[in-house]
């Protein structure tokens, strides 16, 4: 009977691949179970009684946090890209001690984010810290700028700015490594040919480096914008009075004991990240199409 042989062969196949199944299934099951749990709870909380996902939109707290996070992302992402490009260009061509320099440039990633936040907290402490002493002219080598010490964590601009400073400082090496990998794929012949034909530095950068670097740039932009949206530790430590979305989620969950609102906020964050990723992918594709002329 044909049916029986078919079943038999599937059983045989299973038995043959039992080893592979046995070693892959637990891992995927574990990840899959948590993926379902995350999705399930986020949707359950967001669409529970009173539709927190809609009602949170009218909360002033949420709107302020959203606006702050949006600016944080919009300014932080290009800033991190620029820093990454500068660092990568500095260590791209080899010189004496290039590998040591590259290693030194990797130090920030070795410092835990929480510790980086602590360092910034120490440097910018109020009323007396290195930065305040510097700005009020207590060191002989720097002019006096401030009359009174400045409470950095008391103003929205400075506390969010410090959080961004921490983020940029700590994640410099990541952007640098991606850009560096992109630069290393560009072949030297193109530059030589352009130079022979009389292209200057700016033209070489615009017509060779930039178009060929766009994949790396787009990777950095997308990864960094995701990172900036979801940033938690730096604003949590440095700007607790002016919550970003991540800090707001923690506050809704722990202080206000409202997992429904927290879940709704968390789901919105996921949606914003999705939208930004889509937008950046589209934008970089368009720019690339404009830069690369065939």
């Amino acid at each position: 009977m044909p049916e029986k042989t078919k079943r038999y062969s599937i059983w045989e196949k299973l038995k043959d691949n039992l080893f592979i199944l046995g070693i892959t299934v637990p891992c995927f099951l574990y990840l899959f179970a948590f993926l379902i749990i995350v999705l399930f709870y986020l949707l359950k909380f967001s669409f529970s009684e009173g539709l927190p996902i809609i009602s949170i939109l009218s909360e002033a707290e949420f709107r302020n946090a959203l606006l702050r996070t949006f600016w944080f992302m919009l300014i932080g992402t290009p800033l991190q890209l620029a820093v990454g490009i500068i660092l990568a260009l500095l260590v791209y061509e080899s010189f004496k001690g290039v590998s040591l320099t590259r290693s030194l440039f990797l130090i920030p990633i070795a410092i835990p984010a929480l510790v980086t936040a602590v360092i910034i907290n120490l440097l910018f402490s109020y009323p007396f810290g290195h930065m305040n002493d510097l700005l009020s002219g207590k060191y002989t080598f720097f002019p006096k700028i401030l009359e009174l010490p400045l409470n950095f964590s008391g103003t929205e601009f400075f506390s969010i700015g410090l959080a961004m400073l921490g983020k940029v400082w700590r994640d410099m090496p990541i952007s640098m490594l991606i850009i560096l990998a992109g630069l290393q794929t560009i072949e030297k012949e193109g530059y030589e040919a352009a130079q022979i034909m009389g292209a200057n530095f700016y033209q070489r950068f615009k017509y060779i480096t930039l178009p060929l670097l766009t994949p790396a740039i787009s990777t950095v932009l997308i990864l960094r914008s995701i990172e900036n949206w979801k940033e938690f530790i730096f604003p949590f430590v440095l700007a607790p009075a002016y919550p970003l979305l991540g800090v707001l989620i923690d506050r809704l969950y722990h202080v206000q004991q409202n997992p429904y609102m927290a879940g709704a906020c968390a789901l919105w964050l996921v949606l914003f990240i999705g939208a930004t990723t889509f937008l950046f992918t589209f934008l970089t594709k368009t720019v690339r199409a404009y830069l690369v002329k065939v």
């Binding site: 070693i23 995927f28 993926l35 410092i111 602590v118 120490l122 997308i222 989620i249």
Partner: protein, 271 residues
């Protein structure tokens, strides 16, 4: 010339904060409590190691250090047991839909930590998982974060080892499991060591999940302990000493696995 100056500036910007942390950790009282009469010195008046000495006999600090170590090692064990065989299967066998599976591996990381932590914490606070000790719960959460990276690194390691070795052993009559354990694993150990270190560091540094899961308990990992200390507004040298002790294993290990870090850092790039 411009380039040299720029490099010097960048190196200064990178070294200076680390130096400041070190400076505070060995500062005496006069160097941190200035009362505004004189500027904070860039080198303490009487450098000493008192803070480290007092920390190393502090019970709550040692306790959190132990918790961090336990969580780290458990996470490494979970990740290796779950991840290494999977990476092996993904490199050595033609599994239909490997691309989809690889994307799926990363899909949990597409959720921001701060969003994913709420469902995970809610699930962990419910029975039957809530019966598990908090240390195990935190390491289960960390496994979730580190597993995709561990698999990507292990996959890179296995791809670099020629398949012929296993085939030859199988021709000689070894089973698939035997050739995996006795032929491949010894060859792959150095690379897998890098995966283990990467996993350990991720767990050692991880804050969000540990903070949510340990929120009400008495156990704390080092980052959570550091945060709790921060809320008391402690002396600068105390907080700096804790931070510095927390950094040391990270700095040592990071430079040990620099070569493999790149895989881990850019693994998300294919998202």
């Amino acid at each position: 010339m411009v380039k040299t100056i720029l490099i010097a500036i960048v190196i200064f910007l990178i070294i200076f904060p680390v130096f400041i942390l070190f400076k505070y950790s060995i500062s005496d009282r006069d160097s941190i409590v200035t009362g505004g009469k004189y500027p904070e010195p860039f080198w303490p008046f009487n450098p000493n190691l008192k803070m480290f000495q007092s920390l190393l006999v502090r019970n709550d600090f040692l306790q959190s250090g132990m918790v961090s170590l336990e969580v780290g090692f458990l996470t490494v064990i979970f990740c290796l047991i779950l991840g290494v065989p999977t990476a092996y299967a993904l490199t050595r066998y033609r599994i239909p839909g490997t691309g989809v599976l690889l994307f799926f591996l990363l899909s949990i990381r597409l959720f921001p930590d701060i969003s994913a932590v709420i469902p995970v914490a809610e699930q962990f606070f419910k029975r039957p998982l809530s019966y598990l000790p908090p240390v195990v719960l935190v390491s289960l959460a960390h496994t979730l974060l580190a597993l995709p990276y561990a698999i990507y690194i292990a996959k890179g390691v296995f791809e670099s080892i020629p398949k012929d070795l296993e085939e030859q052993s199988q021709v000689l009559g070894a089973s698939k499991a035997y050739s995996f354990l006795r032929i491949l694993t010894p060859l792959a150990l150095p690379g897998l060591g890098a995966a283990a270190i990467y996993t350990f560091l991720l767990s050692w540094n991880e804050f969000v999940f540990a903070y949510f899961i340990l929120f009400q308990g008495t156990d704390t990992t080092l980052p959570v302990y550091l945060l709790r200390i921060l809320t008391w507004s402690p002396q600068k040298n105390f907080i700096a000493a804790i931070s510095l002790l927390m950094c040391i294993p990270v700095i040592i290990f990071t430079f040990a696995v620099q070569r493999y870090m790149r895989t881990g850092l850019t693994a998300g790039a294919v998202k």
